[in-house]
């Protein structure tokens, strides 16, 4: 898809408005429903950019469609090596 003609809602995963509408027709009423059908919000920014736009496309329910566990650690990317820095030399199974 050409960058200059597509309307990307999720920039990280390049999911178009059309794909999201298709997911809504398939029965999605929440961000998670859109996510499972299209992979939107699963990119590097984890929905920080596109979540609001997707919420506006969902059938209005007046209720928040976000569950607690949809916001998972890490809220920013972190390097595996940094998380393991200063780990004791003791093995993880000792």
């Amino acid at each position: 898809m050409e960058a200059n003609t597509a309307k990307f809602i999720c920039r990280c995963q390049e999911i178009t408005e059309e794909e999201i509408e298709k997911a809504i027709q398939d029965g999605a009423t929440t961000i998670k429903g859109i996510k499972d059908r299209t992979e939107a919000t699963m990119g590097l920014c984890q929905g920080r950019t596109c979540r609001r736009l997707i919420e506006r496309m969902l059938p209005a329910s007046g209720e928040l469609s976000r569950e607690r566990h949809s916001c998972r650690p890490p809220v920013r990317t972190v390097k595996i090596g940094d998380l393991l820095k200063d780990e004791s030399s003791k093995g993880e199974f000792e």
Binding site: G27, I80, E92
Partner: protein, 402 residues
Amino acid sequence: MNSVDAVVIGGGVIGCAVAYNLVKAGVSVAIVERDDICAGTSAACDTAIHLQSKNPGIHLQMAQESIKLFPELQKDFDEDIHFKKTGTMIAIQTWEQFEVMRVFAERQRNHGLDVVILDRAAAVERQPMMKGDVVGATYCTADATIHPQFLTKGYFQAAKKYGAKAMLHTKVENIVLKEGHVASVTTNRGNIPCKYVVNACGAYAPCIGKMAGLDIPIAPRRGQIVVTEPMPKFTHTIVNCARYIAAKFRPDLLGTSEADRMGVGLSLTQTERGNLLIGGTREFVGYDTRTTQKALLYILKHATNILPALKDIHIIRTFAGLRPFTPDGLPILGNVPGIEGFVMAAGHEGDGLALSAITGRLIAEIICEKQSAYDFDLTKLSLERYRNIDIKAFEAQYAVCK
């Protein structure tokens, strides 16, 4: 409400697979799901379709038959399910593990699975990233990967295409029986008269079972997974470790450290977009799907011990899913004693994606009372096999179904 032949309760990969197979066999179906498709465990998996992790016997047999069905399914689905043969290497870290894996691999070979044992040099040659604390590996080319949500969506959309009715955001309140037969399912959107009810609720199957007066020994077993940024091809196969196998089948072989008690074992797969999914744990924590700091550390420490290059990669998310655990590690499929029309299709602990295809087939054969195309001993999978279980003790031990 209009009646249907079968109400399938549960919109996960198993429920959708069953609905798809039933509707194709001419059975009218309503999928009743309290939330949305993939609301539970089906959206909390990695991409592995393992043969190499299956117990030789009916478990492996079913997986071998199931995996054959995916190419056919892809042809019938409108969207890509990303089914790909990748093979699996199971990293072996100690000579003790080597002996256990050698015996396991031999049993698997006797059941027709082509598994070879490699020494460290041969393993690293095939899998250059596996340069860590490894003395050897078992290797099988037959395993595959798939997209868990797209597979579920595939079954769901195809089932609807063939006429299944989808009732999402619909909560089952009761299973109504008349003289030992299923008569209808009561929901918050009305009563559905039906002849069959399929309980495909995974970790929540016991709750539905209670509505029909059944004790179902299925418990939630949490698995935590870490997701990395997308990257170029990192491994040539799925990568597991011997501890993963032990945590699944022989937790008695594990030690007593915190990581052992959490059932930490390696499972590494890569998605089509390039994200690595690094697992995982096996924990009995009730229905808690949070991820923990301890698990994050142990999973990553263990993974980098086997694949050191992981240290330079960034993680973007963690998630957790509840595998439906059964005491013998086999799913509960088929008719139940005393109630005609109530069919079980749950308890696939960690094997739901792999066994979804064969489960769909078998349930359709059972409901249509067709001669099975397979020679599985279904008594090994029946709820009846648990008739003597102390369900109160089971529920107390594993914090089941509130």
